[in-house]
């Protein structure tokens, strides 16, 4: 997390990644300003104050970065964001798994989705060392069931429900507990 990240020793620092947050901030601030055009002054005052400062800061930062690159003191590469490259495939797959986890939560329910996500994510991260496959499945199952018992049964939280939760509910009802 250094301010002047150097991707490889001796090479020019890559500052492309550093510009993502300022560019996102500028785009968001401009959209925000657009959304409050014509709104009462009470809705505008704070946003215009903070937003203007943010735009000025981002502009200074980007200009400084461009000058650095123009003087060949830095490059616009995104190395800092993706390094170490060896981890990148794992990171992308973990992100896709997480997206899948959220997408399935609503219809497959907490317990099943959590079990599948934990197992797949642990297998993915363990890489070639898959000797502990059994441990991973047992652990994932225990954590998913443990989470269900603690949060849904004990604390009565409204977690997304799916076939497992419905089946348990029906079972309890059939046993006269519901």
């Amino acid at each position: 997390m250094s301010s002047e990240p150097e991707s490889h020793s001796g090479e020019k620092p890559s500052i492309g990644g550093d510009l993502i947050i300022p560019v996102a901030a500028i785009l968001f601030t401009l959209y925000y300003f657009y959304s409050i055009i014509g709104a009462p002054w009470t809705a505008q005052v704070s946003a215009f104050f903070n937003g203007s400062i943010l735009l000025i800061l981002c502009a200074i930062f980007i200009i400084t970065a461009v000058v650095k690159v123009a003087r060949r003191h830095a490059t616009f590469r995104f190395d800092t964001l993706v390094e170490p490259i060896s981890i990148l495939p794992k990171r992308i797959f973990l992100f896709l798994l997480t997206l899948g986890y959220i997408a399935c939560l609503d219809w497959a329910g907490f317990t099943i989705t959590t079990f599948v996500f934990l197992a797949l994510a642990m297998l993915l991260l363990s890489g070639r060392e898959r000797k502990n496959k059994r441990v991973i499945f047992i652990l994932s199952g225990a954590l998913a069931i443990g989470g269900y018992l603690l949060f849904v049964v004990a604390f009565e939280r409204q977690f997304p429900e799916g076939p497992f939760e419905h089946a348990v509910k029906a079972l309890i009802k059939a046993m006269g507990g519901g």
Binding site: S3, A24, Y32, A47, L94, Y101, F117, M122
Partner: protein, 520 residues
């Protein structure tokens, strides 16, 4: 109101409260769990368990809620230290120095520091409240919107403190956070602002998804770079950790007892103000702690004082929150509001008369708090060494666990799947921020304090019919403005003085060496 406050009454009160240990101890463990999982706040749990507390007697119900409330505050700091995942917004300043300590293999020390400073901070402020409640309650009458604007700015100025490492990036992160925090309908006319058409954002950006995303999700994607959270040296230290390390943490905290005292007092004062909370208190305490530290450069690297400050302050808030409830009938926070429901259910009217009519209930709330902190110290301190072993678990297991449970935690407060996606979006922002040197804490401070600042600012402007000078209209406010300016200037002045002294020293050494050479 002070009538019964004699030594014999106090002894009687504490003896009486200790007889409820069978309620307090289970509530402590329950509180630790709900505090540690993002989304499971004490207030939510107390609401869920309301039928149970209403079924209990009034005293039992109140003691149960108080114990759960205090322990959840402490519980929130545990994952913040061990895996950089604060359980609540009140613990958002804890990982700034707690997590670097854990990464260095000082998990047992860090947890011991957190437990001891939380316990001492909570205990001290509770005792102060017991003796000085009528005076402390006056704070409510003196701190209005104008003064609160300055208090908020104290917290927000932490952005500048964090920005000290890289000013531009720190300020961009902080102001970006402030802009994100101002998403939602405005407070006067409910005009939607920056919501991108999502109805779920009309109430503003929910805190838990922001907290989960910026800290937990981004951390999970970050730590998979290594096999362990710990550094190589940290792994060796953790493997060799003994009880002595845990006691060292306690000893280091006790050595800095004065730091615990004044940072917990910040928490107490902020806690008394209705609507303010542990997050503000811990940010303000951290900022002040760094300002007046002899070693400000060590903050953020695993500095003991940087961990003591937020932990003492957010536990100082707990007793402060209940003062306005009991003395003037205004609940200072969500938990206090639920306590009010329980008391009203039992036919108890809060206010000054409560201390005369039911002294064991009124003072009992605070003695329960003190007893909870004492029992908490005894029950949780021995667990520090074992809890810290979480840091030794491989990232293969811990990263998916963090993602799964914190994402679902972000669903809990409002029950929207949208909030889980929002947490993921914040996770992406947090990941990019971490990898490119922007501080996620600076973004979070903006998200938490931005809307509050705007709210107080608009309220003050409304009352003054749009006169901006209202922010300098109060005597206390003006004193606070001076303190704020001083606290921003002092670090620079100290830094300048230190550099000047070092330069003079170097010059002096050079002259000495030159003279020695001439003589030689």
């Amino acid at each position: 109101m002070q009538m019964h406050m004699t030594f014999s009454f106090l002894v009687q009160l504490f003896e009486h409260t200790f007889t409820f240990w069978w309620i307090i101890i289970p509530a402590i463990f329950l509180g630790l769990i709900v505090g540690a999982v993002p989304g499971f706040s004490a207030a939510n749990t107390i609401i869920i368990l309301l039928p149970l507390t209403l079924a209990m007697g009034e005293e039992e119900g109140l003691i149960f809620m108080v114990a759960l409330y205090c322990s959840s505050r402490l519980g929130a700091g545990i994952p913040a230290i061990l895996v950089n995942v604060p359980g609540t917004a009140g613990a958002a300043a804890t990982p700034l120095d707690g997590y670097p300590m854990a990464k260095q293999g000082k998990g047992p020390q860090a947890l011991a520091i957190s437990f001891v400073s939380s316990t001492l901070g909570g205990l001290l402020t509770t005792i102060i409240v017991l003796f000085m409640m009528p005076y402390i309650a006056q704070v409510v009458y003196y701190l209005h919107s104008v003064e609160m604007i300055v208090v908020m700015l104290f917290g927000i100025s932490l952005i500048a403190t964090i920005a000290a490492e890289d000013t531009m990036k720190g300020l961009i992160a902080g102001f970006f956070g402030l802009m994100i925090g101002s998403i939602g309908a405005d407070y006067i006319y409910a005009t939607p602002r920056g919501t991108m058409g999502f109805l779920e954002l009309y109430d503003g950006v929910p805190l838990i998804p922001a907290l989960v995303g910026l800290f937990a999700i981004s951390e999970a994607f970050f730590i998979i770079e290594g096999e362990s959270i710990l550094s190589e040296q940290g792994q060796i230290l953790m493997r060799e950790a003994t009880w002595a390390d845990t006691f060292e943490g306690a000893r280091e905290t006790l050595k800095r007892w004065w730091h615990v005292v004044w940072t917990s007092l910040i928490g107490l004062v902020i806690g008394v103000i209705p609507g303010a909370g542990a997050a503000i208190a811990s940010f303000v305490a951290y900022q002040q702690s760094k300002t007046f530290s002899k070693t400000p450069e060590l903050y953020g690297t695993g500095h003991i004082e940087g961990l003591i400050a937020p932990e003492s302050a957010n536990n100082g808030v707990t007793s402060g929150t209940l003062v306005p409830l009991l003395v003037i009938g205004i609940p200072g926070g969500a938990t206090a509001a639920i306590m009010l429901v329980v008391m009203q259910y039992h036919g108890t009217t809060v206010g000054p008369d409560l201390f005369i009519q039911k002294p064991f209930v009124a003072y009992g709330v605070f003695s329960a708090m003190a007893v909870t902190y004492l029992l908490m110290a005894l029950t949780i301190f021995p667990m520090a060494r074992y809890m810290s072993r979480v840091t030794m678990v491989s990232t293969v297991y811990i990263a998916p666990l963090i993602i799964a449970f914190t994402l679902v935690g972000s669903f809990v407060p409002r029950g929207y799947v949208f909030d889980i996606y929002l947490a993921l979006v914040f996770g992406v922002i947090g990941y990019i921020a971490r990898k490119t040197g922007y501080h996620v804490a600076a973004i979070l401070i903006g998200v938490i304090l931005g809307p509050l600042l705007e709210q107080y600012f608009l309220r003050a402007l409304k009352m003054s019919q749009g006169d901006i000078m209202v922010i300098f209209s109060s005597r206390i406010g003006n004193i606070l403005w001076v303190c704020l300016i001083l606290s921003l200037v002092i670090p620079f002045a100290k830094d300048w003085h230190r550099k000047r002294s070092a330069f003079r020293e170097a010059l002096h050494q050079g002259e000495k060496a030159e003279r020695g050479g001439t003589v030689g």
